[in-house]
Amino acid sequence: MNRYPLWKYLILVVAFLIGALYSLPNLFPEAPAVQVSSSKVTVKIDDALVDRVNGALTAAKITPDFVKLDGNSIKARFGDTDTQIKAKDAINAALNPDPKEPTYIVALNLLSSSPQWLTKIHAFPMYLGLDLRGGVYFLLQVDMKAALTKKAEALTGDVRTLLRDKNVRHAGISREGNTVRIAFREADTRKAAEDVLNAQIADVIWTEAADGENLALVGALKPQAEKAVQDAALKQNITTLHNRVNELGTSEPVIQQQGADRIVVQLPGVQDTARAKDIIGRTATLEMRMVDDSAEAQAAITGAGPVPFGDERYMDRTYGPIIVKRQVVLTGDNLNDAQPGFDENHQPSVNLTVDAKGARIIKDVSRENIGKRLAILLFEKGKGEVVTAPRINGELGANFRISGAMGVQEAADTALLLRAGSLAAPMDFIAESTIGPSLGAENIAKGIHSVIGGFLAVAAFMCIYYMLFGLISALALAFNLLLVVAVLSMLQATLSLPGMAAIALVLGMAIDANVLINERIREELRGGAAPQAAINLGYERAFATILDSNVTTLIAGIALLAFGSGPVKGFAVVHCLGILTSMFSSVVFSRALVNLWYGRQKKLKSVSIGQVWKPAPDAPGAADAAAALKEAE
């Protein structure tokens, strides 16, 4: 009865191997590395840059462990810190010819030294939280009211243009909070306007209102449209933040949405809060200006003449220098959206939407300047750069597009650049924290010592109290530890100090299952069952109780997971995972070991589960129990 079929053993072996494999990267220490990231949103990190980095390293006679493209940055790992610093200087010199205006950020960093084949199977070390590695944390609140007001403002302009185009006479349009109010003199006009508006502008609910003698229409955004505006604002802010924090050169910045209107920024390794805040809070601006294509300007491009009066010289990111007028046609404030799309010839294009004020200006300017070029400039850190300078082919309205001679990717990039320049809505810092690197290292040591200390104490007690069964329980506990570490590494869930406490606590709680089983087996033995039967019954009867107790613990764990944030969430993730893995390890795994050891012995006389004390038959209690048992039968 105490035999497992081969497949069960196979499953356990596979689970063990996977567990061991994915826990393995945690054993490798971190090694020095150099990280290259872009310092401007207009500069992209791609495979070509990997080759340049490789070239620079070869020229400096430095052999890296590897150079690879990883998301928005290139990472190169080295054997020791001396090589790392030499490599940093070599790469910096090769990529940033002008140290005053660096195109790329070259920063020192740490990378796991686990071998490449482990990385290939996506086995990474656990992701350590800020309290374990040091760094800064910000919680930003996005001002959603501002985003909605901006939208209402844009809507007001749209309505004005629309009513004028359709020749509907109104008595004034104004924005009141997040709603648009249109005044009318006659009910008929109002009816006409309502029809036009309903047909042309989706996402808005129009309600009739009257203010004394004046009739009015009040338009409010539909709830789902309001939500879409807020989501878009949040997404754009996150994108912008990503571009900005690259500049800090941190290895793994975390920028996530939290709740409906908050953004969490975690910058491991960064200690300088002031600088980080400065960079995060910075504003970039977008400007549209006319290009000067006159002969003087052409001369200025080649350097043959001075830049004409009233013009400025900027760099286009693909075509080199370009001369643009000083006068600003439009700013980013007027740009409502920029999305990649396709034009009528099915060529990739960037579709722009400007607000009503912008539309009026662009209409006039474009009518007068057909055939000339309009430059779109992005100003960051006080320096401008031309993103694109398309030729005006006709009169433009509120929606227009830039098309021709670009690929789908290029269109998407340009659209992103046009959007990423600025924040969709202002943000406030509502919480922040800084953890020094030494404190992080101390916390890791404390967490590891707690786990090891707890494990050894429990294992020692179990071995003494339950002998061989105790040893098996301790092995099951070790297996559980391995599984928890492996699953945490696989999920790349953030491990914090409370998370490490949860690992320790899981060990203390998981042993409960084995105690239940062992006590049951002893009880069956005391009741006179044969050893093999006792083992079988012990496992069988204990299981219902184990399931019960794990469910109640899991209820608490899930509550923490659902409502907790920050350290509590870190605790909850480990807690829940540990409960689940402990069910497997303490029941299935320990049973497999017991079966392996005892299962084949047909005439098993005794099991090593410590002393099983039986009340003497003449003791009064035993007699009572016997009588009670008899009754039950």
Partner: protein, 343 residues
């Protein structure tokens, strides 16, 4: 080795009344301290700024506090944190002052008091990570260093408190429902009263000693809530089994039997968990200290309440055999020896 050699069922329920009275008094005391002293919430809940610094020598707390108070802050706390050199300074929210600015200011003021100056320091750690931070230096030494800094806005704090309350409600309701489905509503109610009694007592300890109640402690409290309900589940399970097995025993006797037969497991399991918690107390440092304290109290009272409170309440609520054992409807007289016999 066998620690528990119990010859006969221990008459736990005989003392139920006295024990419940003790429980009630402890509970009332906990509630009293919660109301009179209140919990000493960490800044995570109430908002504020917390700065942790390390001095080169043992710190003079009084001096540190005076320096910070001179900057115009009120209700400043300065405490040792783990060692005599480590100091944690807590500053409540002050209207009109940006919290993040106050940290830099406080650090600068403390630095000046040690005749040092704050400088931007760029360095590379021995592992090869670039570190750029503000340091306090004098001509020869570094008298003080910034270890960590936290600022929490008032809105975040009250939200966290509310989330904590929601989590607590979720756990309580979830467990009652589970126990009601699994056993009977009387057990659900008894189990949750017993364990809420634990929670209130843990909070009472935190209020009485004015230990800092942080998010981590809240996590510990909820984890203990789930964990000690286990204990009640195990006992209730045995109660049901005993009701089935021993028909002649009265309810208190059944409960006594159930508790006696699980007492060794109860104590061993909780002992093992406590071993781990002791390890946290020893090695976990100040951050995990109150977490481990909450667990310790929770574990001790968890045993007590499952054994004495939960079962006793179930008894007062009038748990009967019929509640748990579905008696098959039988038309035959159970005392008729020939019942059911078919010729």
């Amino acid at each position: 080795m066998e620690l528990f050699r119990i010859k006969r069922d221990l008459p736990f329920m005989k003392y139920a009344l006295i024990l419940n009275a003790i429980s009630f008094i402890t509970f009332a005391a906990a509630v009293f301290f919660l109301f009179t002293r209140g919990l000493h919430f960490s800044i995570e809940f109430k908002g504020g700024t917390e700065i942790q610094v390390q001095y080169a020598q043992a710190a003079d707390l009084e001096k540190t506090r005076t320096i910070v108070e001179k900057m115009g802050f009120t209700d400043v706390q300065a405490q040792n944190f783990g060692s005599a050199r480590d100091v944690v300074i807590r500053v409540p929210i002050k209207p009109g002052v940006k919290q993040s600015d106050s940290a830099a200011d406080v650090f600068a003021a403390l630095c000046t008091a040690e005749t040092g100056t704050v400088q931007q320091h760029e360095s590379v750690s021995d592992k090869g990570e670039a570190i750029s931070k503000k340091v306090c230096v004098t001509a020869s030494a570094e008298p003080l260093s910034l270890k960590s800094f936290d600022a929490v806005g008032p809105a975040v704090g009250s939200e966290l408190a509310w989330d904590g309350a929601k989590a607590m409600i979720f756990v309580v309701v979830g467990i009652v429902i589970y126990l009601a489905i699994r056993f009977e509503w009387k057990f659900g109610v008894a189990g949750i009263i017993a364990n809420l009694h634990d929670v209130v007592i843990i909070l009472g300890f935190f209020a009485f000693f004015q230990w800092e109640f942080s998010l981590t402690v809240l996590a510990a409290v909820l984890a203990v809530l789930g964990y000690s309900v286990n204990e009640s589940v195990v006992i209730f399970d045995r109660v049901r089994e005993a009701f089935r097995k021993y028909r002649k025993l009265t309810t208190p006797q059944v409960i006594d039997h159930a508790i006696t037969s699980t007492i060794s497991r109860t104590i061993i399991t909780h002992g093992c968990t406590q071993l781990v918690v002791v390890s946290m107390l020893l090695f976990g440092g100040p951050t995990l200290h109150y977490f481990a304290m909450a667990l310790t109290i929770g574990i001790c009272f968890g045993i007590y309440s499952s054994v004495f409170v939960a079962a006793a309440i179930a008894m007062w609520l009038g748990v009967k055999r019929e509640d748990l054992v579905k008696v098959p409807l039988s038309k035959d007289d159970p005392n008729d020896p020939n019942a059911g016999a078919v010729v």
